[in-house]
């Protein structure tokens, strides 16, 4: 059987770089069951032997406080990898060994990779690898993951460790008289009843009881309530004693002693430092500029603008190619398939649907490429550091800014990559609040709707109107986030305690792998669901079709017009392909037929399920000033926001209006008695805030880990939008607009 090797280590220790160096493109990304933590697996060949490699989430410790830590330790317990390689940042040995000794306490077969040994050297740190290995009783290999140095040797050490058959005795650290005594007593009880010992070493279980570890406490209560209660009482006793004598608690004492153990270890000649440990390095000097009180925010603003430009400008061309390709495919199907429902399904349902899904791919790729650069270089952590104060007020995290900007915080983004950008957030509540509110930003697809309404009613104040719309989106998003954090996603702010990793040049390989795997996940998972929903939406706007009598009526009207025209004019019009230059008479005939076709389309839309929903809703939506035509358009907008424009066109008997050229429609709206500047305002507000398009909803559900949140975002956003739109409309009306 292929051996499995797990890679573990602190965030920023070069773990992922090593994983990429080992597996190259032979890797795939999934999720751990039930949680949104990425699970990366790959394979490596060592002397002809295939080895399965799993990249565990980066953690600083093994508590039960974060999903990453629970996932990592559960993996070790349930999957029992043959060896765990702990990747340790050599320039930061003390803190990195804190995790290593916790692995040793768990009794996992460990190999240390002293990574970034080159960085340590330039910092004047010398490490006696041999000595460290002896003192800890585990193999240690120095590596440089970026260049692949030490890779072979590391895998060799890991494989020979895997071959060792003797069971590994867990490391025993002394935690002081009080705790050692309690640990001893608890351990004896645990061993006597084989309490959880099939999974964990007895002393480790006792330690976790002392640390008040929620996961182990829960497991214990289920397995053996009797003993669990006894252990908990013992913990209470020693806690009370510690509280009275030392004014501390077991958890604190345990981490103090672990660091004490590491310090004592390093002092035995393992590490030699040439300089003072807390001296400033190049990275800190860069930080004096990049996080400077005035320069910092300015530079950040231009970096964020740059990311935005990069994502949306450079992806324009490939997006254009894709659009062109699907347009061509649609035309091809249109000309070669016989008229009818099947053609409509293929062209409007499937080709448009798949085209819609793939149209996002270049944007997602460019965005992830840009964000990977910021993430891998260490700049993203600085963004969080500088903006945390602002975003915390709304229950968010400094890194929320990326998701907001990409979603359209600078008008013209897209919520799909925006929602996916929240992956860089490690605080679960803040992340959820971000991904639920980022779609309020003005994505590129909402812009044609705004452009249409502004052209019709506020033509002279175009720039001001767009600016106000952007401000409303930001204000609304932040306030909605605050609202969510005070209600459905209640809970204290996740501790910020964050490392600012030294600046590093990202490796090109790492960037490419990062970008590709995230994009591929989108195509694979979202693609199937999205195609299904596209077909459902198409069906809603197509069925039921007009009754035969109506179809016949329109047919008769067409026949009547054609019959009334002289024969040669009809002939001229039918030969359109060869002769695009029409005489006036033929042109006139063509336009009159067009009017009937468009009237038929309007009648068909009104008769369809979507139309009926629109009409039924008119009773309520009148409160916000929307008639049934607007309602249908908004239902259509769930497919993609720019469809609001083309559907309004159909509903106003103008045929399918191209969202890019909507002058005819804006004239129609400006002259319609059902419309006024106030209705336009109300609709603008509604369009900003109502349900995200279904592609975004699918992504929200995926990123949040549950369809519940996808459904929530549709319901909550629509309700939120509707309340705001009613307020605008009713207050405006009362004020006489």
């Amino acid at each position: 059987m292929e051996p499995t090797i797990a890679l573990a280590g602190n965030p920023n220790s070069g773990k992922t770089t090593l994983f990429n160096a080992l597996t190259g493109a032979r890797q795939h990304v999934g999720n751990y069951p039930g949680v949104t933590v990425e699970k990366k697996e790959g394979s490596y060949r060592h002397k002809g032997k295939r080895i399965n490699i799993v990249d565990l989430p980066g953690t600083y410790s093994l508590t039960a406080y974060s999903v990453e830590e629970i996932v990592a330790r559960d993996f070790l317990i349930t999957e029992k990898p043959e060896v765990v390689i702990d990747i340790v940042d050599s320039s930061n040995l003390e803190r990195n060994l804190y995790l290593a000794i916790q692995f040793l306490e768990m009794g996992v077969p460990l190999v240390l990779s002293l990574n970034m040994i080159d960085v340590a050297k330039t910092r004047g740190i010398e490490i006696d690898t041999q000595k460290l290995s002896e003192l800890l009783g585990v193999p240690a290999v120095s590596t440089v993951a970026r260049t692949g140095q030490g890779k072979e040797e590391l895998m060799g050490a890991a494989l020979s460790k895997a071959k060792e058959s003797e069971t590994i005795a867990p490391l025993v650290i002394s935690y002081g008289d009080d705790l050692d005594k309690a640990l001893g007593e608890m351990e004896a009880k645990i061993k006597a009843q084989d309490f959880l010992t099939d999974l964990y070493p007895a002393r480790w279980v006792a330690l976790k009881y002392l640390e008040n570890d929620s996961q182990i406490l829960e497991k214990g209560r289920k397995l053996n309530p009797d003993l669990a209660a006894k252990l908990e009482v013992m913990v209470q006793k020693v806690s009370a004693h510690l509280h009275n004598t030392l004014a501390t608690e077991p958890e604190a004492l345990i981490s103090d002693h672990r660091y004490g153990f590491i310090n004592a270890l390093l002092k035995q000649g393992v590490i030699h430092r040439q300089y003072d440990q807390n001296r400033l390095y190049t990275s800190d000097k860069i930080d004096t500029v990049l996080t400077h009180r005035f320069l910092g925010p300015l530079i950040m603003l231009s970096v964020v603008m740059g990311l935005y430009q990069f994502t949306f400008t450079y992806s324009e061309m490939p997006v254009g190619w894709l659009e062109g390709f699907f347009g061509w495919l649609g035309d091809l199907a249109s000309t070669h398939l016989p008229d009818g429902l099947f053609k409509s399904l293929v062209v409007s349902g499937i080709i448009d649907g798949v085209g819609g899904v793939l149209g996002f791919v270049p944007i997602i790729m460019f965005m992830f490429f840009g964000i990977s650069i910021l993430e891998d270089s260490g700049y993203l952590a600085r963004v969080a550091y500088m903006l945390d104060r602002v975003f915390r007020m709304f229950g968010l995290h400094g890194n929320s800014v990326m998701a907001f900007i990409v979603s359209g915080g600078i008008a013209g983004g897209c919520a799909v990559p925006g929602v996916m950008a929240t992956r860089t957030l490690r605080s679960p509540r803040e992340r959820l609040a971000t991904l639920l509110t980022a779609p309020f930003m003005n994505c590129g697809a909402k812009l044609p709707v705004f452009a249409l309404l502004i052209a019709a009613f506020f033509a002279e104040k175009e720039a001001v109107a767009m600016f106000v719309i952007t401000l409303i989106a930001w204000g609304g998003s932040l306030l909605a986030a605050k609202l969510l954090r005070m209600t459905v996603i209640k809970g204290a702010a996740t501790p910020f305690v964050m490392e600012l990793p030294p600046y590093r040049f990202p490796t090109f390989k790492g960037l490419i792998i990062h970008t590709w795997e995230r994009t591929w996940q989108y195509i694979k998972k979202a693609g199937t669901v999205i195609l299904g929903i596209a077909i459902i939406l198409w069906a809603m706007m197509t069925f039921p079709g007009l009754p035969d009598s109506k179809v016949k009526e329109f047919g008769e009207q067409r026949t009547a017009i054609t019959m009334a025209a002289p024969e040669y004019v009809v002939q001229e019009m039918l030969s359109a392909d060869e002769n695009p230059e029409f005489s006036n008479a033929a042109q006139d005939l063509k336009e009159r037929l067009q009017v009937i076709n468009q009237a038929e389309a309007e009648a068909g839309l009104k008769y369809s399920l979507a139309g009926r929903i629109g009409i039924v809703l008119e009773g309520i939506t009148q409160l916000a000033g929307f008639d049934w035509r607007t309602n249908i358009a908004l239902v259509g907008g769930f497919a993609a926001k720019e469809i609001v424009v083309s559907t309004l066109g159909t509903a106003y008997s103008l045929g399918e209006v191209d969202p890019e050229e909507s002058e005819s429609l804006s004239d129609a709206l400006a002259n319609s008695p059902a419309w006024s500047p106030l209705v336009a305002c109300s609709l603008i507000i509604f369009t900003i805030f109502y349900a995200p398009c279904f592609v975004a909803v699918v992504c929200i559900a995926r990123e949040a880990g549950s369809w519940k949140w996808g459904a929530f975002s549709m319901a909550f956003n629509t309700l939120f939008a509707f309340v705001l739109a009613i307020l605008v409309f009713q207050i405006g009306k009362a004020m006489g607009y």
Partner: protein
């Protein structure tokens, strides 16, 4: 030698942690990152809005919010 709260420390001020006065998740996170009694730290700077605070500890840079730094007692010269 006197004990002050980390929140009140000035830029470039150095000291040794004497106590962490918080438990639960926050206390755990703080300790996991190496902020335990006896550790030498040095304030590196503050974010543009004076919060969070960045400090040097064991050779790396750590950031904490002011209301988190409130729980850390430091012995300074």
């Amino acid at each position: 030698m006197s004990k002050i709260i980390m929140r009140q420390m000035k830029e470039s001020q150095a000291g040794t942690i004497s106590a962490i006065k918080v438990g639960g998740e926050l206390g755990r996170r703080i300790r996991d990152m190496g902020l335990v009694p006896g550790t030498a730290i040095k304030i590196q700077g503050r974010a543009p809005l004076y919060d969070p605070v960045a400090l040097k500890v064991m050779g790396f840079t750590l950031t904490l919010r002011n209301n988190e730094a409130e729980h850390i007692e430091v012995e300074v010269e």
